[in-house]
């Protein structure tokens, strides 16, 4: 199964993230405060999922495919489906597309990219 990203119009199949897989984390928005007596108060707010996907050592073609999908989906509430079949309505956080480049012995570039997504509630 592949990771897909749908912006409401087009479904993009993203490169396989490699053996590192992806990281998902449920982020609490709830806040706590303590009264002068020591009593604790909690104001609850819905938690949301934060998803981080690293793509180590992408070829230039794979990186271009990922960037194309990113350009079409970033900033739009879109559907991200992960390797395990779970899907989330997400925004690509902070609009970043960080890439680290290394060159192999033949001077061919390889790119490591890590994208972060935040669930839209």
């Amino acid at each position: 199964m592949a990771i897909t990203w749908n912006n409401g119009t087009t479904t993009y199949t993203l490169p396989a993230p490699g053996k590192t897989g992806h990281r998902v984390r449920k982020v609490s928005q709830s806040a706590t405060r303590r009264a002068v007596s020591g009593r604790l108060g909690i104001d609850l707010r819905p938690a949301y999922w934060q998803i981080t996907i690293p793509w180590p050592m992408l070829t230039q073609a794979e990186k271009t495919a990922l960037e194309t999908a990113y350009n079409a989906c970033a900033g739009i509430a879109s559907t991200l489906t992960l390797l395990d079949g779970r899907s989330f309505t997400v925004l690509a956080a902070q609009y970043d597309f960080p890439e680290d480049t290394v060159m192999d012995v033949d001077d061919a570039p390889f790119y490591s990219v890590e994208l972060q997504f935040e669930e839209v509630l």
Partner: protein, 510 residues
Amino acid sequence: MQATNTAGAAFSAAFQTACMADARTPACKVYIQWDGANWVDETLNLVSHQGEARLSAPDDSALLGQGTVGSATIALNNRNRRYSRLASGGDASLRAAFGGRGGVSRRGVRIYQGFTVGSPVPAPEYCQIFDGVIYDWADDDDQMLFSLQARDRGNLYLQTKVSTPVRRNYRLDEWIAELADAAGIAAGDRSLEPALFTVPWAWADAEGVMSEMGRAAQADGGWLYWNHHGKLLFKNLLAWAGQSSVWTITADDLTAIQPGQQIDLLATEVAVEWQPRQADELGVCFTLDERKIIGPGQTIEFEAKSGQPVWSYFLPEKDTDYRLVSSGGGDMNEHATVTLVEAGRNAQRATVRVTNNHATLPMILIWFQLRGIKLQGGPSQEIVVAATTPPLTGTYRRSVPSNVYIQSDAQATALASFLAERNSRLQPLWRLSLMRGTPAFELGDRITFSAAGRSVETPRDGHILAHAWEYGDDGFFSQTLEVLDREYLYPYSDYFVIGSTALGAGRAWY
């Protein structure tokens, strides 16, 4: 304390429990009247809101008069450039509103705050904590945030000037109602308690309506302010006298408690100025300084302004008050109708209407005067009342500035006596930082508070002078109250309250 939610029903038990619960789920709504007519729910883009409502400046709780302006700040997510006037991604209807001559200035804003409560299916229940208008706005392009600065409903009337006829023996709340009518504040948008004092003479001549109503409230020792529902409220000096405590706050509910006092209010005596007024004899109050030409069959109107208020105008009489001639100098008085416009008769200005009834000849108004009974102001007088038990050695006099609605010895004496006692001791002031905000609080509410192990071991009562709230960035709905301690406000508990206490019962106030 508000009693009903935004659906118009009494607050549910679950809502009241949520106000003080250890764990609760805050919910809020923000509505904006972008086009001046339709309320648009902008909650989906809400990042945070905060605001403040206040009865008085911190150094002046003894004679409040006009409340300070309530305000709110709302931050909205502008991710899709919804609120950016020139961005193509924005909303077309909003672009139209922002692009108008006045932008979205003075468009309505409402904030509801509440909790998600109930079972088996929890649902949000709200109460309204702010009703006002947009004052200013800012688009943070980098952060993609749009923020609105809002002011209470009084902002709509800040520049409104009103003129009225002279009124005699009006109760001050009736006078405030007349000013409100003149400004276009609908009867349903105000709630005025009966005032304690009647003012012998009252009038307005192109006066700012908000400051004038504030002066009238001050002359009664009362408060005038706009509440969270966008209503204009007037409370008389005894509004708090018979009030019961509506909420109890303990150390479990406070993150901080800070005692203070209003040191600058201390006085050994209080001076109140009053300004006597009396009707003068019939006299000339306006003389026309120019000639006016009226064509055949034509009607003109002009304004006759007087330097002094006129209690009663005399209708202009031909030969005595005006003379109209033809271009050849012939008498035209018989061919003219000269009168005063009923709606234009105000204290210091009257609209004069002259009609030329002649079919062919123009006429010239070469002389005109308006007679009436003017009001004469006597020299200001002052009542000075010393504190029964002075708080300080030496003389510390606090003066109530000149107020045109303090016109009698009795009124000035009552206010001075009240203030002399009120200011003869320090009035404790408490700043309570609440761990859990309670959105239903209203200004003036009597609450009971204590903080065992801190500065207040045993429960005290006080009235909310100001409350500030914040909800958003840190996920907490928090609130800070400024509370005037009640211990020395009313020495007795059985005052006669107009409209509340039965006749024959209760203690008279001063």
